[in-house]
Subunit: 147 residues, 2 copies
DNA sequence: TCTGAAAGAGTCTGACA
DNA sequence: TGTCAGACTCTTTCAGA
């Protein structure tokens, strides 16, 4: 499937604000709502749009501590990596999980109430999962962009 | 503002799928669409919900190379940090920007077509912004969770 | 805080250029 | 690919419990 400039602009708009109506998008692209609707349907069906999510303010939700946790595990076999992945994404604290190449095997985005909860997550949940080689935490002070 | 269990469940559902209708959410929580509507409005007005975005598949968009770029800058004054932040979020390649504490000053989530485009971004855009102390790139092989 | 009815708005389909 | 009209569905408001 080939995307034209209109498709790309639709994706650009929706990645910033998924609540735009087809009519509003159409007005910006000089079209009516119908072709916008059809194009979005096509983009969804072909997997270009994977879904729509609400962006929450974790500060207000008493989960103001957001961290990136860089994890290196001991067992690098396919089974070992898959095992860690499946078990770690089951935790509510894990907002995102990326398998990576390079120094770390996984980067996790974590939300916890405070530093104490974060440490509890580390000690009682993360560390027990599978044998780890290293864990490095970086705390987020400000989210400046998100799309 | 105090959130009850119903509010939290609404947030949980919408953070995974923002396309659920008020009626569908109501059915899961044993209520009608009206109270769900009112609660969501309240959560939006009070900033618990910051917005709604489409999740795109960057693989398919020929921006399959997603990386976390860890940046340490030379000038740690408030102005220096703010300056870098404002200029870096203007780049299309920058999907997300987090100001962090610890080893790095910023973590960027970057999307590029391939390794060559990524290097071009680094050399022609990122490096020129402000004097940097270190830049470390970690490439994403798989996104296993995102909410 | 909730239900249920009703108006307003958006989505989605189909005929046609 | 696109416009337009109409059916359908969801959102939103309001009266009442």
């Amino acid at each position: 499937m080939v995307l034209d400039e209109t498709d790309l602009q639709i994706l650009r708009l929706l990645s910033k604000n998924a609540r735009l109506t087809n009519k509003e998008i159409g007005e910006r692209l000089n079209k009516t709502a119908t072709p916008i609707f059809k194009r979005i349907k096509r983009l969804e069906d072909h997997g270009y749009i994977r879904g729509y999510v609400a962006v929450l303010d974790y500060d207000k939700l008493d989960r103001g501590l957001v961290a990136f946790t860089h994890v290196q595990i001991k067992d690098h076999s396919r089974v070992g990596l898959q095992d860690f992945l499946e078990r770690v994404i089951a935790f509510d604290e894990v907002l995102e999980c990326y398998q990576t190449s390079g120094e770390f095997d996984f980067i996790l985005r974590i939300a916890a109430r405070d530093i104490k909860s974060y440490q509890e997550f580390m000690i009682n949940k993360l560390i027990d999962l599978v044998p780890l080689t290293s864990v490095k935490s970086t705390f987020v002070m400000r989210e400046a962009k998100k799309e």
